[in-house]
Amino acid sequence: MSAIGLRLTGSRHVLPGFRLSLAFTLFYLTGIVLIPLLALLLRPFSLGLAGFWTEIATPRVLASLRLSFGMALLAAAIDAVFGFIIAWVLVRYRFPGKRILDAVIDLPFALPTAVAGIALSTLYAPNGWIGAPLAEYGIRIAYTPWGVLVAMTFIGLPFTVRTLEPVLGELGLDVEEAAATLGATRLQTIARVVLPSLLPALLTGAAMAFARGVGEYGSIIFIAGNIPAVSEIAPLLIVTKLEQFDYAGAAAIGVVMLAASFVMLLALNGLQSWAAKRQ
């Protein structure tokens, strides 16, 4: 693959181990990641484009894709709003217990998704700590599409907070001082001066939360109720089809989700280079 690169640059290096380390890197990457992904990407070709489309264009599959993407977008928006508030409080304010609160933000990264799933499901069930009071007002979260939203919001929160914190920390206070001197109120300063300069980071964090939400499985399936065409997410439909040995159907949905991952990855790279230019 990069044999030319090796020959061109290899001889000028003082340090040893270039060929060995790069060869191992490429071998491992190809074997573990690239070939299996290729197996998925090439799969729909065995169906033909028409066959691929028949697998996707069923009401159940389309509904699951709509639910996964729609709720992930909503969850990313909620995470962006609260991520900004939390990052603002953690970076700008001083209060006791701040470090612990900051460490807790990573809980959705560290807690296995199945554990989060059964905990959220029990909390929001009609007899749960949060579900019971809500049930009195006729609001149901668990076993409805709103359960999907709760789980996706949970899983996505660290992304927005962690992308915003460093940018917020490096933001110079001089611009805010200038705005205040020119007579802006504090809220005007935050809305017109701080928020615009945070926009790239905010969008990056939200895009990461969205990408994670779209693909998320473990924390969602327990709380969602998994009613076909209502609260059934796309990853679960892949699992269901695999259990019925419908490999073609599973692969078709898998390809759509993988394509979405590629698009998100490109979008994130674009966002990050935009953010880098802005700083």
Partner: protein
Amino acid sequence: MSGFSQHHAGRRPTDDPLWLKLLLGTLAIAFIAVLLLLPLLLVFKEAFAQGAGAFWAAITEADALAAVRLSLTAAAIAVPLNTLFGIAAAWSIAKFDFPGKTFLVTLIDLPFSVSPVVSGLIYVLVFGLQGWLGPWTSSHDIHILFALPGIVLATIFVTFPFVARELIPLMSDQGRDEEEAAATLGASGLATFLRVTLPNIKWGLLYSVLLCNARALGEFGAVSVVSGHIRGQTDTMPLHVELLYNNYDYVGAFAVSALLALLALLTLVLKSLLEWRFADELAAAHRH
């Protein structure tokens, strides 16, 4: 953390008014408490809902112990392999120049943006009976799917980038001068790595191995697709949680969950300690 001093008398123009501080502070703390802390609290409460005896019985039950063993085995294979890969990738990418580097880094990051279920699906498409290698492996009596190798592969895939993505920026920032000096003075490659590079990256390495291990033990979606769910044999801890929960054994499900939650908390504590104590020796993204 910005050195934001409140010692001056009166409010500075960049300080938020008190009402705003109270409002945003309350919102932030309430959101974290409800969304993140309440589920954690519930796990431990439910695990001990029928007392410590029931909890102990649930986690020492034979299938639960088999699940713990399987999870530990899978992590014990996946984490060292990904660590070795991370070091090799970071060594080649950070210490040498070659075309296509940025693209390679993007490919290494790829598994993080793939849905866990899709991560499992790809191995089914390779090793399943209708897959590329499936007919060959089954005719040679090699079991990949619904056995340990499949679980290990799925675990490797989902934890693939952890070590590499921490070490690549860290080792790039540190440059090559020290290693080149050592090599010029006649140190072998291994000696250069062990005596010069490793001391510089040890905390970053530990940090990333910690996160890699937590994810390896906790992975659910990818492993669920390839495991086959054979109770006592191919059920990892998270899969065992699902099985117990779906069988209405809530104490059992939350007892095993409590073990996993403890592991998550331990990971968070160690991670935070590393971030506070060795911030300068971690990749810039983790310096708070």
